[in-house]
């Protein structure tokens, strides 16, 4: 249905943009093992994005590439959180922690979707996201409990990203339309807060008190970063409209 397709675009865009951000790390990570790990996560997320966007595209006769490369900024539906710049490694880890706990809960829920395709994609994604979550948790512990410097950086990372967390849990009229095909974002909030609080506590870090930012990524009003991401991501494809690769 149209509603499911619109929903799949949201899921796909989050993963596509976060994958883009993570892939910026490749060949720049703090150690080779992290070039491999961040590349792996970027690849998984890209896979999820492709599945969701391909599925969404069926509703409009579009391919995954039509949706990734030939939509305008205001047609994207990504969350501001996934658009945020990589910053230092701690910022990237904090973002991963937030997103992967969220996706872990989300895909667990969607595995029971009444839409079989969404359920199937989510079931597969769920396994991979559990690994992403574990990776982020391990690094949060290392950075939180490692050195004074790393704890300071991690606290700062959490603070500057916290404003974008609120948007993860905003319901839209779309979720009413979806019924049991989707998962209501607000329904994930309590579990997410519980889980992240537990991780942060174990890491000797605190839940930040920074205020929530008014974000409208789901309505197509994005952070100022997305335009730059798309300029880069789409530049080659758009120079050769109609070409195949």
């Amino acid at each position: 249905s149209q509603a499911v397709a619109r929903y799949a675009v949201r899921l796909g865009d989050d993963s596509l943009i976060l994958s883009h951000r993570l892939s910026e790390w490749v060949s720049r990570a703090p150690e080779l093992e992290e070039d491999v790990a961040l590349g792996n996560i970027a690849l998984d997320l890209l896979g999820h994005a492709r599945s969701f966007l391909s599925y969404a595209g069926l509703a409009w006769g579009k391919t995954e590439d039509d949706l990734a490369y030939f939509r305008e900024e205001e047609e994207f539906r990504s969350l501001h959180l996934v658009e945020q710049p990589n910053g230092h490694f701690g910022v990237t880890i904090a973002r991963q922690l937030m997103v992967s706990i969220y996706q872990d809960l989300l895909y667990a829920g969607l595995t029971g979707s009444t839409d079989n395709t969404l359920a199937a994609i989510s079931a597969k994604a769920s396994k991979e996201v559990a690994y992403h979550r574990d990776h982020a948790v391990q690094w949060t512990l290392r950075l939180g409990l490692g050195t004074e410097e790393s704890a300071r950086r991690m606290r700062h990372a959490l603070e500057i990203l916290w404003p974008y967390v609120n948007e993860l849990f905003l319901d839209e009229p779309l979720h009413d339309e979806l019924g049991d095909a989707g998962v209501r974002p607000s329904a994930l909030k309590a579990a997410w807060e519980r889980e992240i609080a537990a991780v942060l506590e174990e890491a000797g870090l605190e839940v930040p008190q920074t205020r929530a930012a008014l974000c409208k990524g789901r309505q197509g009003e994005h952070s100022e970063h997305l335009g730059y991401i798309l300029a880069e991501m789409q530049v080659l494809a758009r120079k050769h409209p109609g070409a195949t690769w």
Binding site: E24, V26, S27, L32, L46, A237, A243, W245
Partner: protein, 310 residues
């Protein structure tokens, strides 16, 4: 000198030398240099390709490219492990890379200027690497030979993907065709030079042959490779930028144009378009990551201490 006798016997019978076996210092040194250079090449080689990940023109190609670059990081990791079995720790090898003391494959000092370079690098650069490396799967040093087996398998896969990129471009729009031909023009000579200087000018080769690290001469491998790509380029419907290229029936070998060895030496010496950039990027990544590695080490130490106390 029971050690030396046993070593020579193992070499003679085409057996493998293993880390605990006695080996001549020169053998150890040569291998450490060669394996670590190879590892460094994998690591530096990530950069020209990473340069196109965020701009890959389709999601499928993007996924393939990320996976490829990741494989390279993986190869770097195996190879550092293989080098470590010879007694030099990874940090030392890394230090040699960052200080500019150690070399890496000079080909990565050329820029990746267009998407077609992802094809040309796969087809020509990985292709030349494989031609170099397949014989190394039988290298006398066990850990190296075994690492090469795994690496060669993945590299063949990468080469095919590179060829596919070019094939798609060659059957695409005029602009795509031009892009593909231009990439081949830029990478042809540097790829041929990957086999090293002409045999007459390659002082270390003889000893390496005797030790069964190396199995074929530079020129031998080069002409074999050029013959292979001369056939493949026809499938692409493109050309190699070499009007002199032909098969010499009498000599039974491929003949190619003279290569610009002055440029080769200059690029090795540090004058390539990207030498400075590649090393600086590596240094930057290393320096920016210092606090992360320190944190990880401190955390591990704390955890170990806790485990001991408990």
């Amino acid at each position: 000198q029971a050690g030396l006798e046993r070593f020579n016997a193992l070499i003679a019978e085409d057996s493998r030398i293993e880390p605990r076996d006695w080996m001549p210092e020169a053998y150890r040194k040569t291998l450490t240099r060669q394996i670590s250079q190879h590892a460094h090449s994998e690591i530096i080689g990530m950069q020209p390709e990473a340069n196109w990940i965020t701009r890959a023109p389709s999601l499928k190609r993007k996924a393939i490219l990320i996976a490829k670059v990741q494989d390279e990081a993986g190869h770097g990791l195996y190879l550092y492990s293989a080098a470590e079995t010879l007694g030099t720790p990874r940090e030392v090898l890394n230090e040699q890379l960052l200080s500019g003391k150690a070399k890496y494959s000079s080909i990565f000092n050329y820029p990746a200027l267009s998407w077609a370079d992802m094809g040309a690098i796969g087809w020509l650069v990985d292709g030349a690497a494989i031609a170099n490396q397949v014989p190394l799967c039988r290298a006398s040093y066990g850990p190296y030979g075994r690492a090469m087996v795994r690496i060669c398998k993945e590299e063949s896969f990468h080469q095919r993907q590179g060829f596919e990129i070019l094939l798609e471009l060659a059957h695409g729009t005029e602009a795509q065709k031009r892009m593909a031909q231009d990439a081949i023009n830029r990478f042809y000579e540097p790829a041929l030079m990957m086999f090293g200087p002409p045999d007459g000018d390659s002082p270390n080769s003889q000893q390496s042959m005797e030790w069964k690290i190396k199995r074929f001469s530079n020129d031998e491998l080069r002409q074999r490779f050029v013959g292979m790509i001369a056939e493949q380029v026809k499938v692409l419907g493109l050309t190699l930028p070499d009007p002199e290229l032909r098969f010499d029936e009498e000599a039974g070998r491929w003949v190619h144009k003279d290569l610009d060895w002055d440029e080769f030496k200059a690029v090795i010496a540090g004058n390539g378009p990207c030498n400075a950039q590649r090393l600086e990027r590596r240094r930057e990544a290393h320096e920016n990551g210092a606090w992360v590695r320190e944190a990880a080490a401190a955390y591990a130490a704390k955890k170990a201490q806790k485990a001991q106390v408990a």
